[in-house]
């Protein structure tokens, strides 16, 4: 339960006029966001841009967050909206996309595009546990505390997520 309370503490510190404490939330969720967004957008550069935008929007809109202990779920919702906006603007900017299509098609070095896309395509509850476990570096116990669910639910969701990921990766290959 400790992790969830820490999120809440930092959110409240920011709301009380200590903006620099937002840094701890950035540190905690940057990898989770980047992992998720790279899968959705298919580019690390765009993922980084989207992750920055999501965090800045989260900061600016922090006052609207009613349950301060639900920061992570709220942040992921913002990230989802940013992805949609970026995808829309990419579609409307045809000449630029055409020009860049050559470079965009080349996978970035060290990037497991297939896996990132498979993770991004998981249903939200399964995606959430995978992101927290692997990109957020949380243990199963910490995820249970974070999401306020029993430990058994987390292991079952992880188990199901692995099965779905394997299926999805098999289809792609």
């Amino acid at each position: 339960m400790q992790r969830r309370h820490v999120d809440k503490d930092y959110v409240e510190r920011c709301l009380d006029g200590h903006p620099d404490d937002f840094r701890y939330l950035v540190r905690r969720y940057q990898a989770v966001l980047l992992g998720y967004l790279a899968g959705r957008l298919g580019s690390r550069d765009m993922a980084e841009e989207a992750a920055q935008e999501s965090l800045v929007r989260a900061y600016v809109g922090l006052r609207k967050l009613r349950k301060t202990d639900s920061f992570f779920a709220w942040l992921m919702g913002i990230a989802g909206r940013v992805v949609k906006e970026m995808q829309r603007s990419r579609r409307s900017d045809v000449p630029l996309t055409e020009t860049l299509s050559e470079t965009a098609a080349v996978p970035e070095p060290g990037c497991d595009v297939g896996l990132e896309q498979a993770v991004a395509a998981l249903p939200p509850p399964y995606r959430c546990v995978i992101l927290l476990r692997y990109y957020g570096g949380c243990s199963c116990g910490e995820i249970a505390g974070q999401l306020d669910v029993p430990l058994g639910t987390v292991t079952k969701q992880l188990s199901r997520a692995y099965a779905m990921l394997r299926e999805s990766l098999k289809e792609k290959s």
């Binding site: 840094r23 940057q30 497991d112 692997y134 292991t155 992880l158």
Partner: protein
Amino acid sequence: MNCEQCRINFVGYIEGLLVEPGKGAIESHLATCPPCRAELQQISSLCDRLMAGREIAAQNDFEEAVMHRISHEDLRTRRDIKLWRIIMKKRITKFAAVAAITIAVLIGVNMLKGTPAWAIGQTVKALENIQTLVITGTDSWGSESIPFKFWLRFPEDKKDSLDLRFESEKQIIVVQGTKAWAYWTEENVVKVYDNVTTSNGMMRDIAFWYRITEHNPWITGKVLATLKLFTKDWQENYSKCEKTDRDCVFVTCSYKPLSSSFWFVCDLESKLVVEGKYWRNSDRQGPPVSHAVSFQYNEKIDDKVFDYKIPEGAKVINRKEQKEADTLFAHGERLFKEKETDQAINIFQEVYEKYPNLNVAESALMMIGICYERLGQYEKAIATYQKSVKEYEYLKGWTFSTYYYLGRSYVKNGQKDKAVNAFQNCLIIGESIGGDVDKFPLKDARQYIEKLKSHR
């Protein structure tokens, strides 16, 4: 333990969550069941792959980049957050806030009795209903003050279209429905924007001109309305306007982060702007950058005003060509950012050779010089900058930056006297076109000159 019971517990087993005797039972089953061993192996491989993905996800400067952006977000957000929290934390403060607002409204209503009520929102609303507008005034170009005239017409039947003409001795801009021209008189260059298509009620290709009208404080007033929310020194004085002999409100305000300040007058009956001044500093020092002296609303404008004929001998640049050049230049910038300096030089060279008549060619030459500087090839950098300022001397708005980089290369190459000359050229040209002396590159050029002179 059977296979199903074993597999259900794989995650717990991998995560080290199982205790005896469950853990031992799984291990015993695995020892005798090759399919379950293979299944466990596959899940473990997937976990390793996920773990590897995690290691490459984090970026070194990501946190600082976010915090930097946050620090530049509007300070008001923080102030509001803090105030909101103080109010909402306790029930008593909530009641106090409600009471304070009620009293303030009551006092305000009473104070307004007998005084002319005006709010910037009313001006924005009034400006929404205009069909035509003609503004005359002066613009500052360095020490020069140049008269301009600006015509604007929103066709009644086409809400997503406009006709516009801006004319001064330096520049003529004409937007006629789906066509647009921008002509620079000294350079004798005209940019043509044609085949404009509409998309969702907004013309994409000439969105720039819409932005000009949208952001011109005197045309929509929206900039002023936004400013009212942020500025700390918004002041309204109500008195008779000498020019019109009507009741008016005189407003002054400034916005330090953008080094801008305004003075404008609105008629209290029509709510429309009747005069306005804009400074590129935050304390209305010196002559304004733009002074809109007279405003005529909803008067018929002759169609001929929005006609445009390309002058004979003018260099014509079309939008497609400009876009291609910009895209290629952006590709060069990306390579430069990714430290692919040699490749970046090739791309910038291509921009220069393919589009020598566009302003971006001058920027491309400047970037080639910067690339050579990065590679430590200062003589090549100097030669490139010199070529740039010689070939594009008429682009006064841009060459002062090139002079700065030229000076910097001279410094690195040990040619101090030539460096001082280059920095002085940067200052002279930059200041003559009204560049901000407290910002890059003018500020840096001045510092270099002081430093170089003190070492003599």
